[in-house]
Structure formats: structure tokens, C-alpha cells
Amino acid sequence: MKHLRQLEDQSVYILREAYKHFNNLAMLWSMGKDSTVLLWLARKAFFGHVPFPLLHVDTSYKIPAMIEYRDRLAREWRLDLVVGQNKEALAAGMNHTLGRVVCCTALKTNGLKQLLENKGYTGVILGVRADEEGTRAKERYFSPRDKHGDWDFRDQPPELWDQYKTTFPPGTHIRIHPLLDWTEINIWEYIKLENIPFIDLYLDKGDGTRYRSLGCAPCTTPIKSTAKTVDDIIEELRHTTVAERSGRAQDEGRGMELLRKDGYM
């Protein structure tokens, strides 16, 4: 448990730095386990309040239960929820059969870029974790994006001790990653420790399957699992050697590296 509090202290520190330094700050919330833990950590950092808007980039292909859950928590926790959507791309019929990287770029990356541009956010907090995949392992806590939202991973700013990059030229923005040091198990351990409400799609409800990672319905497949409680999940993860995102189609080949250089979360 001590290790969870250490992770929590670090994330809370990062969130407070972000809130101090960015006037136009927002947090991305996909309703998955990670960004929901992130949201919870914001309530920790700000003593029950969430002093910035939560952005949901809606691809329209999300599982309906996720939208219900989103609206319920937004009400109960008095969240300032902002939903963005790349309506143009959807009207033109964008979907995953046109290619996964193409679809993710249009509906998520560009959906996000449009939202950031329209609202002029200069700091965006995201729940990415270093253990999810290779390029995320190389992220900074405070990671600058250029005018086009692109990530220059070859030239990342130094990050010394608890000092982060909080100043940036106009037109660019900073991505803030408070969960970099958390692993998938840590997320579930913390959900249990703090009793955080989560979507039950992560649990097996009798058919021997559950979701391990939640994305769009067409591109996320459930895994075989009989984990019916958070404890079951933690136990299962301690024994598994299967990668978390093995059910996520975008990770195949160099998909994620290409997407992330372009500004994907």
C-alpha cells in the first residue's frame, strides 16, 4: 500500500504544478480505468474539487454503457464536461474499415486537436502510462507539442527532479502525464484502495470474458477471463504475461509510434 501512496503523492504534485502554471487547463477523460483514476487523483489534489474541464473526444463508436457512466459521474461529482467530436469526418462516413490508423487519426487525434484549438487549451492532462507501450515509456511528465500538435521525441526537454517544463511559446501546448509511473496493476490496486467507481465492462459477468482495455467498440475485443471482482483482476494480472493492449488493434506494427508522433494521446 505504501507504494500506492508514493505514486499518489507524485501524481498529486504534478497535478498541482499543472494547475498553478496553466491558465487554460483541461483533462482528458475517456471513462476508462486510467483516466478515471486520474480524475480521482485530481479530486485528491484539489480536495474534492475538479477545477478544470474534462474533455471527452467522442468517436461515436464508444460502448453505450461508457456514455451512461460518464454522464452519471459528471452529475454526481459536479464535473465541467466538454464533449468534442470530429463531426465533419463522421459525416463523411469515417469508420475503422477505412483503416485503423486513418480512423484513429481522424476521430481521435484530429478530434482532439480541433477541441484544443477551439477552446485554446494550453495544458492538457492525460492518463497515459509508461508501461502501456514503447513510445509512452519515453514520455516526460510535461511534454511539449508544437503548433501542429506534433511530438518531437528526438528533442524532449530536460526534466530535473521536481522541475518541469511549464513555459512554452505561443501556439504550442503542453501534455501533462501524471500517471507515467503507474502500472496496470497499480491502477487496479488503487481503485480498490480508494473504492473508485468503474465501468463493469472490466469484469466478467458470467460469459467468461471481460475488457482489459477500453477503446472504440469495433476495435477493442474482450479477453478470456473469469475475473468478477477487482481482487480477481489484481490476482489475474499478477500471473499474466500477456500485454495489456493486446486487444487493441491500433498497436499492431508501428501503429502507435506513427499515431503518437502526430499528436495521438
Binding site: 505504501k2 513555459t167 504475461t241
Partner: protein, 614 residues
């Protein structure tokens, strides 16, 4: 496959450093593979990529995730990897060894609590082996082991290993760094990584994996005196919560805290937390905490809270060891933003004492700039006093970074306090404030009654620039507006309070300014807006205004400078008036400044409203 099922009890951050190609990424890959820590299919996936590209399989590709890294066979940026072993969760950071990516190596090492430093047995000790060893010490990573890799290439010979150990120990000894271990390994073949080597029976020490387990979590910091750097102050609801990270020591409800450099004091009323039952009553090093105080004192980000018995240093100058990562060289006399813990303040490099060559630790004197990736000893001077510690006693409050334009361009550790000319007065003010006897009426009570807070308007300038005239005009206007203001003229002190001074002392600034400052401090405590000029000090107004500032600290000082022709005003001047003065306009500007700074309430009445807290 062997799987690790123990529950973790703590986290430990490890960094792997060393010269390029000495085998850091390979060691990391091997460590994972030999302990069964890789996800299913990962090894096979990398094998397939290598085969497809017609390359020999490299363990390094497991974590060198970028296409460019794999194509060039080098690590460009640090990767955080996760590793569970014997009840501990390790975050292992693989740092690049290429000198072009030194800033990435430093970012990785700055996060680490312990390190593995690799040296290639065949190539021996190289430039970056030394630089990284030196930087570990500078960055405060004291626990580390030296791993002599590629022993397979030297026939696993003990004399080669011993030779490297001797040479490198001597180098480390020059700055008193002592490694926990020297370990002979072959990362590629797995000797002494997770499994004991069959080929080196002459070595009986721990493997790399054993060494990781033996590294300790730093816990001693809680036993040090308290340091809490104020990060922010929140008022989301009825509570006014001061937040920050406890970087050393511990605190509990009821503790008397002193905030430096403002010297403000109050007791801890509560420790605040979300979703923790029962509500905590204490905190210790490492925690990001929130507290409320029993008095509504105004403290701001950057102050360091401590107990009164163990205060941090306060000065406008210190000596430091610094490494520079900026694209442009660090230059003497140029302005940079200094960040010490949560404090941000403008500073300049007062002098560069020497550049340190990390190859042989030779010192090169007399430079006016520090180039990229160089290490130097220098003195920094700040625009306003800062609270800090020496890094030998307190890690977190004893180190700093410099920001050049938008980027963190360097970092360092504070090695020595440099005394500035305000030192004695600052000490006097501190002692006097700590012993100050208060009545029942608080500062806030007076502000509510008067419709303004206490402050001093300090008008500086040469002779016949209209200082006295402006001061009188301002006093008149403030009183006409219903404020409590008073013109403190130095002449009135000269014949009374200063009557005991000799002719000679009266001709000097030091004691006269001290007395003037103490009187101003008293008047400010009565809740007045003191209007003053540096008239009695003649052309020594710069020295006098510095002394007055130090003594009235932390009351707001609105500094106004008057001159007939354009000239450089004293540091931190708020309002500059040059040429023939329109006194009504000048008065209006000062009133605006008083409002902007939160001294004057927007409206006077039963319930004055202040725009800002001060």
C-alpha cells in the same frame, strides 16, 4: 515461465548509465528475459523485426522502441520500464550514453534513487563513463554499482576486471563517491545478471539482480528538520489550504511554522485530505500535503515552511556546482529564471569561478561562459531574497534549475551561502519579528477597519527631483480619500531619535537607514500607509532603500523613482517618473499601483473588498 507473484511494498527508481555501446540496453533486456518479466510474445515480436531487417537479434531492441533507435542501434531517450522482484516494484530507467543526448541521461538520473553504471571491459573507462559517474554524484544519486560488461570479450579475465576497478575507483575517489559493488558481467550472454556466471568462478560477489535488491529506499529524510515548500494556496471552499510537498522532516497539527523568506508565522490548525478517514493529523517527507493555519497570514508559492529551531538560509546569492544543457551557452551577466523548489526568481550569474573538465577533473579558470554539457562552479545572484539550503544537508531545497527563455537549460546544487550586504539587517529583522509582542487586534482587523492594508511608498531619486512635493501631495490625497496615511520625513528623526549619533555617524547611511527602517516598520504595524522619501540620505538613496526594504519586509513596498533625465532606477522600482513631473498624474499612478498590489480596497465602507491578498 517463472512468474513473480509477490505483492509490492515499495517503489524504487533505478537508472542505468554509462558510455554509449557499453551495453546498458542489453543489460536491461537480459534482466527482464532472465527473470521472466517480459510479456508473452514480446521477445518473439522483436526477433521477428530483427529477422525482417536482416539483423542479429539484440536485447536492446526490447526497449529502444522508436524506429530510429532500432535503425541506428542507439538509445535516444530514456525509457521507463517496470520490474517486479521480491516484493519491490522497480522503475528502471535506461539512459542514453551518447553525449548528444546528455540531457536525456540527466533527466533519467535525476529521477533515480540508485544507479547501475556500465563500463565495457574491452574498451575500458571512456569519456562518458567518467562524466556520468561525476553527474550521478552531482545529481545526488549516492547509491550505485559499477557493472563491468562484455567480460566474454576479454576471456572473463580477472586482471582486466581488477584493472578497471582500480582505475575507476581512483577517479570516483576524487569526489568521494563510493560504489556499492563492482560486478563483472556479460549482458549479452547473461553472466552475473540474474544468474551466477559459470565462467567467472573467481568472482563471489552479488549478481546485478542481487545488487538491485540490496539498494535501499531513502527513508532518513523524515528524520531531518522540516522543509515544506509551498506549492499553492487554495480557496475552493471555506478552507484556505496551503499545499506543498514535504521534502524533509515531519509536521503535525499544532506545530508552529515559520515561512521563509517572509518570516511569517502561524500554527497548523488541520491537515486536509480527500477521502481519508479519519482525517490525518500529521505528515512526513515525500507527501504532497495540504494544511490550514490558525491565522489568516498571507503566504505564497515559493516560501519554505520550517520549524523555528531549524530555519533555511536566506540570501540573494549562493555558490553552486552547475551543469549546463542549454543550446546557447550560459553567460556571465545574463538574466535567467532561477527555480529552487517551488520558488521562481530572476537571477544572474555573478561570476564563473571555473569550468570542470569531467575527464580528469582539471579546473579551467577565468571563463565568461559555460558551454553545452559543461560543468562549472559559479555564483548566482538573485533579484529578491530566496530561502534555500546547502545541498550537503538538504537535497530538495539545496538544488535548483535555470530557465533560459522557455526551457530548463541547466541545473545544479548549492554548495555555499554567499553573504550579501543585507545579511545583518535581515538577521535583525528575523530576530525582532520572532520576538514581536502582539495585541489582540490582528493585521486583518485593522485592514477591515481602515479599508486598506499597511504598506510603504518609498520615493527615491537625486536632489531637486520633486520627491518631497510628491510625497506631500500623495499623503494629502490618501487622507482626503479616507485612508490612514503618514508622511515619514527623515528630518524628524535626525534631531530626535538620531540625536545620540555622532556627527560622523550622521554623515553615513548605515545606522541612519537602520533607524529609519525600524521606525517605518513600527508605523506599518499600526496599519498605516507610510509615505517616505530617501531625502535624508542624499545620493546614497540606493543603499538606504535596500536597507529599508530589508527591515520592513514582508510589507509591500511601492518603489517610485524620480529623475530629471532618464537614468537606471534602483532594482525592483514599480513607478518610474522621468522629466518634468505632472504631480496629479504621478499621484494617480501610485494610487493605481496601490490598488493593483492589493493595498487599497476597491471600496471603503462597512465591508471593504480587496482585490488581492497580500
Amino acid at each position: 515461465m517463472q512468474v513473480n507473484v509477490t505483492k509490492p511494498s515499495e517503489n524504487l527508481n533505478i537508472v542505468i548509465v554509462g558510455h554509449v555501446d557499453h551495453g546498458k540496453s542489453t543489460l536491461l533486456g537480459r534482466l527482464y528475459a532472465d527473470t521472466g518479466s517480459l510479456p508473452d510474445g514480446k521477445l518473439e515480436k522483436v526477433q521477428a523485426i530483427c529477422k525482417q531487417q536482416g539483423k542479429e537479434f539484440e536485447y536492446a531492441f526490447l526497449f529502444d522502441a522508436f524506429l530510429e533507435e532500432q535503425e541506428q542501434g542507439i538509445t535516444i531517450d530514456t525509457a521507463r520500464t517496470f520490474f517486479m522482484w521480491k516484493g519491490r516494484q522497480y522503475i528502471i530507467i535506461d539512459a542514453p550514453g551518447h553525449k548528444e543526448f546528455l540531457k536525456n541521461m540527466i533527466s533519467g538520473a535525476a529521477r533515480a534513487e540508485a544507479a547501475l553504471l556500465l563500463i565495457d571491459a574491452l574498451e575500458g573507462v571512456k569519456e562518458q563513463s567518467k562524466k556520468h559517474g561525476y553527474l550521478l554524484s552531482l545529481l545526488g544519486v549516492r547509491q550505485f554499482a559499477v557493472v563491468v560488461n562484455k567480460m566474454d570479450l576479454v576471456g572473463y579475465r580477472q586482471d582486466v576486471f581488477d584493472g578497471i576497478e582500480k582505475e575507476y575507483r581512483e577517479f570516483l575517489g576524487q569526489f568521494k563517491a563510493v560504489p556499492a559493488q563492482f560486478i563483472p558481467v556479460s549482458a549479452k550472454l547473461g553472466d552475473n545478471i540474474a544468474n551466477r556466471s559459470q565462467a567467472m568462478s573467481w568472482y563471489s560477489g552479488p549478481t546485478v539482480l542481487d545488487t538491485l535488491s540490496a539498494f535501499q529506499k531513502e527513508t532518513a529524510r523524515s528524520e531531518q528538520p522540516l522543509r515544506l515548500s509551498v506549492q499553492d494556496v487554495y480557496k475552493f471552499d471555506a478552507r484556505r489550504i496551503i499545499t506543498g510537498r514535504i521534502t524533509a522532516g515531519r509536521l503535525k497539527v499544532g506545530d508552529h511554522l515559520v515561512f521563509s523568506p517572509s518570516n511569517k508565522r502561524a500554527n497548523i490548525r488541520t491537515v486536509e485530505a480527500f477521502n481519508i478517514e479519519p482525517q490525518p493529523t500529521e505528515g512526513q517527507a515525500g507527501q504532497s500535503i495540504g494544511i490550514t493555519l490558525d491565522e489568516q497570514i498571507f503566504v505564497e508559492r515559493g516560501e519554505i515552511a520550517s520549524h523555528q529551531e531549524h530555519l533555511p538560509s536566506v540570501s540573494t546569492a549562493f555558490r553552486a556546482n552547475l551543469f549546463w544543457l542549454g543550446k546557447k551557452p550560459l553567460e556571465k551577466g545574463r538574466k535567467y529564471l532561477l527555480r529552487v523548489a517551488t520558488k521562481e526568481v530572476d537571477c544572474e550569474v555573478a561570476s564563473i569561478h571555473r569550468i570542470i573538465d569531467t575527464m580528469d577533473l582539471a579546473q579551467q579558470q577565468g571563463s565568461n561562459s559555460v558551454g553545452k554539457n559543461q560543468v562549472a562552479e559559479l555564483t548566482l545572484r538573485t533579484k529578491a531574497p530566496v530561502a534555500f539550503d546547502l545541498s550537503a544537508s538538504f537535497e530538495a531545497t539545496g538544488r535548483f534549475v535555470l530557465v533560459d527563455e522557455y526551457d530548463i537549460a541547466g541545473g545544479g546544487i548549492i554548495t555555499e551561502l554567499v553573504h550579501d550586504d543585507q545579511e545583518f539587517l535581515r538577521e535583525e529583522a528575523r530576530r525582532r519579528d520572532f520576538a514581536w509582542v502582539k495585541g489582540e487586534v490582528t493585521v486583518e482587523d485593522r485592514a477591515q477597519q481602515y479599508g486598506h492594508r499597511a504598506a510603504i511608498v518609498l520615493i527615491t531619486g537625486g536632489r531637486h527631483t520633486g520627491k518631497s512635493f510628491l510625497a506631500r501631495k500623495l499623503e494629502g490625497r490618501l487622507v482626503a480619500d479616507g485612508r490612514h496615511a503618514y508622511l515619514l520625513d527623515g528630518e524628524n528623526l535626525r534631531r530626535g531619535l538620531d540625536a545620540d549619533l555622532s556627527e560622523e555617524e550622521r554623515g553615513q547611511t548605515t545606522e541612519m537607514a537602520r533607524r529609519y527602517g525600524e521606525v517605518a516598520r513600527l508605523l506599518i504595524d499600526t496599519g498605516l500607509i507610510v509615505v517616505s522619501t530617501t531625502n535624508p540620505f542624499g545620493m546614497a538613496y540606493r543603499e538606504a532603500s535596500e536597507a529599508i526594504r530589508t527591515l520592513v519586509h514582508p510589507a509591500p513596498v511601492i518603489a517610485v523613482h524620480m529623475s530629471k533625465t532618464a537614468e537606471e532606477p534602483p532594482p525592483n522600482t514599480d513607478v518610474v517618473l522621468t522629466g518634468p513631473t505632472d504631480f496629479d498624474a504621478a499621484t494617480a499612478r501610485i494610487l493605481d499601483e496601490l490598488k493593483r498590489r492589493g493595498v487599497l480596497a476597491q471600496a471603503i465602507g462597512a465591508k471593504p473588498v480587496f482585490q488581492y491578498s497580500i
